[in-house]
Amino acid sequence: MKRRDFLKLASAVSATAGSLTGLAGCATSAPSKARVVVIGGGFGGATAAKYIRMWDPSIDVVLVEREAAFVSCPISNLVLGGFTGMEDISRGYDGLRRHGVTVVQDEAIAVDAAKKSVRLARGGDIAYERLIVSPGIDFMLGEIQGYEGAMQSGAVLHAWKAGQQTVALRQKLQQMRDGGVYLLSIPLAPYRCPPGPYERVSMVAAYLKQAKPRSKVLVLDANPDVTSKGPLFKRAWNELYPGIIEYRGSAKVVAVEAGAVRTEFDSVRADVLNVVPPHRAGDIAAKGGLITTNNRWCDVDWRTMESKAVKGVHVLGDATLSAPVMPKSGSMANNHAKIAAAAIVAQLNGRSPILPKIINTCYSFVSQKEAIRVSSVHEWEPEKETLVPVKGAGGVSAARSEAEGTFAWNWARTIWADSLA
C-alpha cells in the first residue's frame, strides 16, 4: 500500500470507528517514515504534534489526550473575575486533525520504553519511534493535611488546572457574602505559572471591589515575597484595590480544616478556600520513569528535550526540571515543543539538530483591561550545558497599561492558534 493511501485509510478509520480501531491498524501496519506519539494535549503536546506534522508531513503523529477540548490556564483568572467565559478560553482539537494529527481521547497509563509502546486506559498499545510526554502537573495532595477529603467534598479548590474547578471557584465567589474572605494559598516555588497567583489575587479583588466591596482577599504565600513582577503587582494592589488585599509572605499552609487553613503558626478562617498544593510532574511521567529530581521533576537535554532518564522519550512543559530562570509557563511549553519537534524531525531525517533559542513572554492582568508582562530570551550555554537567559535581554513592563492588556489578549489568542489551529 502506498503511504498516501495508508494515511487516508488510517484517518478515515479513526474518524468513523473511534480511535482504537484505527490505532490497532496503525500499530501493526508499517507506518510512513516513523510514528511519534505525544501524550498530553496542552500547550506543549499540542504544539509538538502540530509542528512535527508541519515540518515533516511524512511523520505520523498520534496525540493522546484525556479531555475532549483544551482549556487554557492563561486567561482563566479572568473567568474568576467575571471578565470572560469558559468558552472563550476553550479550544477543540479539530485544528490538529486538519494538520493530519490522529487525536485519541484516552489516558496513557504506562510507557514501555524497551518495547517503545504506550498503553492506553481503554486497552491497546501504540508503538512509537519517538515519544513526547507533556503531562503538565499533578498535585502533591499529601503535603497538606486534610486536603484530599476537603477537595472531594468541594470545601477547598485549587483551580490550578483550568476546567471544572475554575467554574466551581467562580460560583463560590459569586455565592460569597459581602464582607466575606477569599483566601488564596500559594505553594513554594517552583510551581506552574509564577505570576499566576498574583494575577488571580488581582482578578478576584477587581470582582469583589465592584460586586462585594466589604469583602477581603487574604493571600498566604509560602514564598517569602511575591515571586514574579512583585513591584508591579504591589503597586496595582495599592492603587486599584486599597484595603481589599492582605498579603502575608512566608505563610505556608500545612492543613485544611473546616472553613479554615492552618499555617505553621496559626489557624486562618475564610469563606472561600482556594488552596493550591505543591506540584510535581504529571502522573504518567512517574509511571514512565521520567522523574529524575526530588521525586518531582523531569530533567532533560535542553537541546532536544530528550529525557535524561529514558532514551527516545522527550519531556515538555511544566513537568521539566526548569532551566535557570525559566518559568513553568504556556509560552515555555510551546517553545519546548518546537525544540523537540525540530530535533525529532532532524534526527528522523538523518540531520544534526540545531542548538535552540527560545522566547518566554508571560502577561498578567491586574484589572479588567490593564496588564503587566515579563519576558526573557533563552539560549544554549555550552559550559553549563543548559538554556540560560541571554544577558541584557528581557525584562518587565515599564508600568501596567491597557496596551499591555491588548497585547495580552493577542498573545493568548495567537498562542492558542499556534498550538492548536
Partner: protein, 101 residues
C-alpha cells in the same frame, strides 16, 4: 550527537549544505516569535500586530534593530530584540519575508 550552532556569525557561515540548513535554522529561530506573531508570522484575524509574513526582509530587520537600539518605542520588542545578534535578526527577517501573506 552533533549539534549545529546558530549563535553569532556561525549562522551565515555554516560549513555544509548551507542553503537548506540555513532555512531550517532560520525557521527554528522564527518559530519562537509565533507565540505573539502567529504561526508563519500570520497572527489571528483582527490582531493588533502587522503580519510579518511577506514583509520585506530589510524592513523587518531594520525594525528589529530599531527596537534593539531603542530607536523605536515598544512595550516588549525592545527587550526581546536585545536577545538576538545581527546575523540572527537577518535570518529571521529573511524567513518571515519568504512566507506567503
Amino acid at each position: 550527537m552533533k549539534f549545529i550552532i546558530i549563535t553569532g556569525a556561525a549562522l551565515m557561515a555554516l560549513p555544509f549544505s548551507a542553503g537548506a540548513q540555513d532555512m531550517v535554522a532560520s525557521r527554528n529561530l522564527a518559530a519562537a516569535c509565533a507565540i505573539c506573531h502567529g504561526t508563519h508570522g500570520k497572527p489571528a484575524p483582527n490582531a493588533p500586530l502587522i503580519p510579518l509574513a511577506g514583509l520585506p526582509r530589510d524592513h523587518i530587520a531594520a525594525q528589529m534593530r530599531a527596537f534593539r537600539d531603542g530607536k523605536r518605542p515598544a512595550t516588549v520588542m525592545h527587550q526581546i530584540a536585545k536577545g538576538y545578534t545581527d546575523p540572527q535578526i537577518d535570518a529571521m527577517a529573511a524567513w518571515f519575508a519568504a512566507q506567503k501573506r
